[in-house]
């Protein structure tokens, strides 16, 4: 089959960009950061109570006060992000406790496999599935992101406003079980974003005369509080009683036959997961859920009946799905500046802290950032495969760290991070307050991710709304004036309303309930 000539030049362009990315990412220092990131990330993912979102959130202030430059910090933390996605499966399989929410579906077949004495097989299959999912998704990111960036060039304020609505609506619609609560969470976040000096008029808003609030609420303070400090309150309440007894792990062998048998499941899981990741608001948990459900419905006869009882495909599909979604979620985050999940929201916070504004211009103006990020993702994947298959025993050891050491440690790291970043005890108090807020919200079943998204996007959203109003002289219909904007609004409404009906059809299978789980 002959390709049209312009495809050839597109491919060459991509490869040239990638070569540039590798030339930055393969320096010994950057490579070392990637390896450290992968190692730390896998640990974070494996430990119950610490997941990709709060793990990355904890590390942002620290890497920032270490004075890393933008590319190094980005490489380190995206390696942590990918690593956490790999690590989540370890405790799912061995302890029947998902290390983080996206790894929840892996418990369904992974733990039964471990009980049958096939723990090492399950770990290898899931490790390879993670690799396949993440690798293909990173390649997908390479191909699709520049295209999306080109479309996003045409976005004006009305389109951006609609896009933000879409992100909130789908996140609220798909990610939570109660639309009102999700919308409430988003509104709380937007409300918090309003605190501080108004950019256009310079008037203080909601500062209640408090000088510390003039600059607004630092989103890192909010994120670390909501994700990490809230966790401590939960653990105190549950008294860390979920320290389950693990399953013995034998010698690690590579089960080639099983890998071959599950390769179809991995590829299907990757495809589904990637699409789920690209959709704003869906994220890795949905990716692994859909991948598992699809694989189950494709299977026939005895194969189908064995799902939930230790079918290796039931391990391969969700793991490929959640890692592919992790890669897919980077597409809207980098090209539009709209994160697809809690963790990518945290990564967006990282970019903003580093003074990098994601969006279509990022690809044109800072190609070295984008392509070295992509190159380091590819490297991180290879490193993670090596770490997670032959060296998985190391991480299993770390899993036995008891909660009464882990949680105080996490809290102290949270404080040190914020303290060394801002040096202000007011910010630490604020962080504790966000911790309480996070605890209460989780008690009420209100998701915390939309709050983060609201704080991150609030000011940009208001700016775009006001700019649109200036352009149109206050005519609200301007928001619906272009086909792209109308399309986005329709998608937003569908994304918000449709899950109400879909939920009745797609019943979630019973997974072990764990109140300490964090959202991805």
């Amino acid at each position: 089959m002959a390709f049209p000539p312009e495809w050839g030049s597109k491919i060459m362009e991509t490869l040239a960009n990638l070569a540039m990315g590798f030339s930055i990412a393969l320096t010994p220092y950057t490579l070392m950061l990637a390896i450290i990131g992968c190692f730390v990330g896998t640990i974070i993912g494996a430990l119950p109570g610490l997941g990709p979102s709060n793990g990355v959130a904890l590390l942002i202030p620290i890497s920032f006060s270490m004075g890393l430059d933008a590319i190094s910090a980005l490489v380190l933390l995206t390696s942590v992000y990918y690593g956490a996605m790999y690590g989540g499966r370890i405790s799912s399989i061995l302890l029947n406790i998902p290390g983080d929410e996206p790894a929840m579906m892996t418990t369904l077949d992974g733990y039964p496999m471990a009980k049958q004495g096939k723990a090492s097989e399950a770990l290898v299959v899931s490790g390879v599935a993670s690799f396949v999912g993440a690798m293909l998704a990173t390649i997908g990111l390479m191909i699709f992101a520049p295209y999306l960036a080109r479309v996003a060039y045409q976005f004006g304020p009305a389109e951006y406003f609609a896009l933000y609505m879409l992100a909130f609506c789908t996140l609220g619609g798909i990610g939570s079980s109660n639309q009102a609560k999700a919308a409430m969470a988003a509104a709380i976040g937007l409300g918090i974003a309003m605190i501080g000096l108004d950019k256009t008029t310079g008037m203080p808003r909601f500062t209640f005369g408090e000088l510390h609030l003039m600059d607004g609420v630092d989103f890192l303070v909010a994120i670390v509080g909501l994700f990490a400090v809230a966790e401590v309150f939960h653990f105190i309440e549950s008294h860390g009683k979920d320290s389950a007894i693990g399953v013995k792990l034998g010698k690690i062998l590579v089960p080639w036959r099983m890998l071959k048998q599950t390769s179809g499941a991995m590829l299907r899981g990757t495809g589904i997961g990637f699409v789920a990741g690209v959709l704003p608001g869906a994220g890795a948990s949905l990716g692994s859920f859909l991948a598992y459900m699809a694989e189950k419905s494709v299977a026939k006869g005895a194969d189908k009946a064995s799902f939930g009882k230790g079918n290796p495909k039931g391990v391969a599909a969700p793991e490929a799905g959640n890692n592919a979604a992790a890669g897919g979620a980077l597409v809207p985050m980098l090209t539009l500046g709209v994160p697809g999940s809690g963790t990518t929201a945290v990564l967006l916070a990282l970019l903003l802290t580093l003074n990098i504004t994601p969006g279509p211009l990022l690809f044109a103006e800072r190609p070295e950032v984008v392509w070295s990020l992509i190159a380091s993702l590819l490297i991180a994947n290879v490193v993670l495969l090596l770490m997670n298959v032959p060296m998985v025993k190391v991480f299993v050891k770390i899993l036995s760290v008891p909660a009464w050491v882990l949680l105080p440690g996490v809290t102290m790291i949270a404080f040190v991070g914020i303290y060394s970043l801002t040096g202000s005890s007011f910010d630490m108090l604020l962080m504790v307050a966000f911790g309480v807020l996070g605890y209460v919200m989780r008690k009420l079943g209100i998701p915390t991710v939309p709050v983060i998204l609201g704080i991150l996007l609030g000011n940009a959203m208001e700016d775009n709304l006001r700019r649109a109003m200036v352009l149109s002289n206050g005519d609200w219909w301007y928001l619906l004036s272009s086909p792209i904007a109308i399309g986005l609004w329709i998608a937003a409404i569908v994304g918000f309303v449709a899950p109400i009906f879909l939920r009745r059809i797609l019943k979630k299978p019973a997974v072990p309930h764990d109140p300490t789980l964090n959202e991805d």
């Binding site: 109660n178 008037m203 909601f206 105190i236 009464w404 105080p408 404080f415 303290y419 630490m428 504790v432």
Partner: protein, 136 residues
């Protein structure tokens, strides 16, 4: 649940009046946000979810202790340095989760020294170990 939702409405109203000091421009968006909060509260009142288990009696006390300790920590770390407050706070939290005083005290000390070495020596963050005026 109902009471909490009502509280949200009240606070949303409170926020609204506080906009009055601002010129027209910066008010519109917060109004929209407040409207969403009110709408959601109404939905949550009309269609309440089953209540979660709220902690009772002793647990509230435990959580209160944790809260006070963390708030105290945020004030103490600046004047008193890292080592002493961290050992105390980490010890208390560890005791609250694990329940064994001796084990917790060791954990607190270990975390305090270990994290200080990690942050100060290995990562080079600007932390002060001891109270001001007592050396490093």
């Amino acid at each position: 649940m109902l009471i909490v939702a009502l509280g949200y409405i009240l606070s949303a109203r409170g926020i609204q009046t506080s906009f009055m000091s601002d010129p027209v421009g910066p008010r519109v968006f917060p109004y929209l946000v407040a409207a969403v909060v009110i709408l959601c509260s109404l939905v949550m009142i009309l269609r309440p979810d089953p209540d979660e288990d709220w902690p009772a009696g002793p647990m509230v006390l435990q959580l209160g202790i944790a809260l006070v300790v963390l708030m105290g920590y945020s004030q103490a770390i600046s004047p008193l340095g890292f080592l002493i407050p961290t050992a105390i706070v980490a010890g208390i939290l560890s005791w609250q989760i694990g329940g064994n005083p001796v084990r917790s005290a060791i954990t607190g000390l270990g975390l305090s020294v270990g994290l200080f070495v990690l942050f100060r020596v290995i990562l080079g963050l600007g932390l002060r170990g001891l109270p001001a005026g007592m050396g490093f």
